[in-house]
């Protein structure tokens, strides 16, 4: 099952015990939402470029937490509230908590801010002759509360204090007794008792958020308004060797490593580098390429916006001829004309010029293809929307069933997905050293690209009701082929990453 050999054994991961259950569930959950062809694929072995992961809802995370809390409370024999505080202090590492607790109970509980052998949970009561240290109100009939540390404050001050901590400071698992230098943690039950429903809701969602944030194997799905979290046992160090692409239950497909949308087969570090370069460079680079030449000495880009061919670089004061790029000093008395094109010095200057131009052009080669696929994917989607309306009309006017007109939707999805993959192959290739491996990669890239373009072309064909069956056949055949080509490319790239077969350069 596991092609990717992360050293799971070393991890202090929290799901250790129940890990296998989750695996099985993930298989089944997943199947509900897929159609038949994909079920068949799912049953097959996991592909080299795929990683194991599981999507959790907030409720599932809460359930899981409650189970863990109950378990710990049973083992050490304390209130669930206290077990929860301990677990949060240990960032849900149950094994470590129990081990350390058994060894050094006093130290551990002190550090975590819990008094576990407390006889009862905090309650609001009226104490005779009470004076609140915060508001200085005193009397016999003031409701007040103290945690197991005994520091007593009135109900109003307490709830104001908690609300301030939760709403203003965004605190949750670290809210301490209001007393000076007392580190006893206010438990969930007490908070529920003292704050408004709205604040309590905020408190629990902060708790969940910290839980996910603390756990390096859990990330929130980055899609707007999506509340699922994805679990994937990938370390940062693995990211040089694989691209952990996951698909949330909301449908958003993203990279677990960096949170960006799916960027297979390009690894995260190159993606970051590439995006950064594109942000800075692309438009400027295009313009520079068309409109400027470089100073033969200092390589500053120069735009000639008028005047004669006798150029003086503003930066390094080098004087040269705009036509032959050779040094101006060799032009002697023949001012403003240049017949020295073949002189050695000017040939050298042009060589060096073309080398630096070549670098720019190489970048533009990859960038333009990258940008083209991004743009085409958008156009394909737009085209599909138009086609879909047409298909709906056709469905009404002809004998076709709904299911029969669905093939276009799937084909468009395939095209868009493959264009996304192709897009990132160009970013990947930009950083690849030119060698035999790269040639193979580019062959795969070319095959996929050709297939995708053919399929994309098919989608543009005019749809005639009487020839729809034939079109469907061609589209379906081509889609299968395209998917296959994508798999080949991804498999090979993933395998190469695993074997460190690719040599990266810093162009």
């Amino acid at each position: 099952m596991s092609d990717i050999d992360f050293d799971e054994g070393d991890d202090d991961f929290l799901y250790d015990e129940s890990g296998e259950d989750y695996l099985d569930e993930s298989g089944e959950d997943y199947l509900d939402e897929l159609d038949f062809t994909e079920i068949i694929q799912e049953k097959q072995e996991r592909k080299k470029y795929e990683v194991e992961y599981k999507v959790y809802s907030i409720e599932e995370i809460e359930d899981f937490q409650n189970k863990e809390i109950e378990h710990v409370a049973n083992i050490i024999g304390c209130f669930k509230e206290h077990a929860a505080t301990l677990l949060r202090h240990f960032k849900w590492n149950k094994e470590r908590l129990i081990e350390l607790y058994m060894d050094r109970t006093e130290e551990v509980t002190k550090e975590a801010g819990v008094i576990v052998d407390a006889q009862k949970l905090p309650k609001l009561i009226k104490v005779e002759d009470f004076c609140c240290d915060i508001c200085c109100d005193s009397g016999d009939d003031i409701e007040s509360l103290a945690l197991s540390c005994g520091h007593r404050f009135c109900k109003d001050c307490y709830s104001q204090y908690l609300t301030q901590k939760i709403k203003v400071e965004g605190e949750c698992r670290n809210i301490q007794c209001p007393s000076d230098a007392c580190n006893i943690i206010v438990d969930e039950n007490t908070i529920k008792m003292l704050v408004s429903e709205d604040t309590y809701h905020r408190y629990t969602s902060l708790l969940i958020r910290t839980y996910v944030d603390d756990n390096i194997f859990l990330h929130w799905c980055p899609a707007p308004n999506c509340e699922y979290a994805v679990e994937c046992k990938i370390h940062d160090s693995d990211l040089q060797r694989l691209v952990p692409t996951v698909k949330c239950k909301c449908g958003h497909q993203f990279c677990f490593g960096c949170g960006l949308p799916d960027h297979q087969p390009c690894i995260c570090s190159l993606v970051a580098k590439w995006l950064n370069k594109c942000r800075d460079d692309s438009e400027t680079a295009n313009w520079i390429s068309v409109n400027t030449k470089e100073c033969p000495k200092c390589k500053a880009s120069i735009e000639k916006n008028g005047g004669c061919n006798h150029m003086t670089c503003k930066k390094c004061k080098n004087e040269f001829c705009w036509v032959c790029m050779g040094p101006w000093s060799e032009h002697g008395n023949q001012w403003y004309t240049c017949n020295r094109f073949e002189e050695k010095t000017s040939v050298d200057a042009r060589d060096s010029q073309s080398r630096s131009r070549a670098k720019l052009e190489r970048y533009l080669h990859y960038y333009n293809r990258y940008a083209n696929h991004e743009q085409s994917a958008k156009l394909d989607t737009e085209l599909y929307e138009k086609t879909e309306r047409k298909m709906e009309r056709m469905q009404k006017s002809s004998e076709l069933s709904w299911i029969e007109v669905q093939f276009l939707k799937e084909a468009v999805e395939t095209v868009v997905q493959c264009r996304n993959t192709l897009k990132w192959t160009y970013s990947f290739a930009f950083y690849l050293q030119k060698d035999n491996q790269t040639t193979l990669f580019e062959d795969n890239q070319r095959d996929l690209e050709m297939a995708v373009e053919q399929l994309s072309e098919l989608l543009e064909e005019e749809i005639k009701p009487n020839r729809i069956a034939e079109l469907k056949q061609r589209v379906v055949d081509k889609s299968i082929y395209v998917k296959h080509r994508r798999e080949i490319l991804l498999e090979d790239t993933a395998q190469g990453l695993k074997e460190s077969r690719w040599v990266f350069i810093d162009p």
């Binding site: 915060i134 104001q160 301030q164 209001p178 007393s179 000076d180």
Partner: protein, 148 residues
């Protein structure tokens, strides 16, 4: 808005039982604004100096800490040119159980025991760490010049 009971009580107590070397007097027109004077602690570089501070109790007090600032120029690694003070209980270690009195006492302690490892005024802290004698001499000089 009426002044909370807590502030009234604290003010009364500050007046009735003043702490040696510390005085805090509220403005008549704004009872949340205090004129503070702290004497330089004996044995410190600030001995003999009288340092003026301003203290303001924000709306959220005591849930939020008071705002305190030195008005007298002082050479101290945890106090910057504008008189801002780097002190944990004025920030994340604030507890509503702290009072004006405890805050001012902590500031007095900070004068006896500067902490150059958690500096606010970087150049002063650097001097304090590399050439303590010279730093203390400068602090004394400033005390003479500005705090008397």
């Amino acid at each position: 808005m009426a002044l909370p009971k807590r502030i009234i009580k604290e003010t009364e107590r500050l007046m009735a039982e003043p702490t040696p070397g510390i005085s805090a007097v509220p403005h008549e027109d704004n009872l949340r604004y205090f004129d503070v004077e702290i004497s330089g602690p004996d044995g410190s570089a600030y001995e003999g100096g009288k340092f003026k501070l301003e203290l303001f109790l924000p709306e959220e007090y005591p849930m939020s800490p008071p705002k305190v600032r030195f008005l007298t120029k002082i050479y101290h690694p945890n106090i910057d040119k504008l008189g801002r003070i780097c002190l944990d209980i004025l920030k994340d270690k604030w507890s509503p159980a702290h009072q004006i009195r405890t805050v001012l006492l902590s500031i007095q302690v900070l004068l006896s025991d500067p902490n150059p490892d958690d500096p606010l005024a970087n150049d002063v802290a650097q001097e304090w760490k590399t050439n303590k004698e010279k730093a203390i001499a400068t602090a004394k000089e400033w005390t003479e010049k500005y705090a008397k």
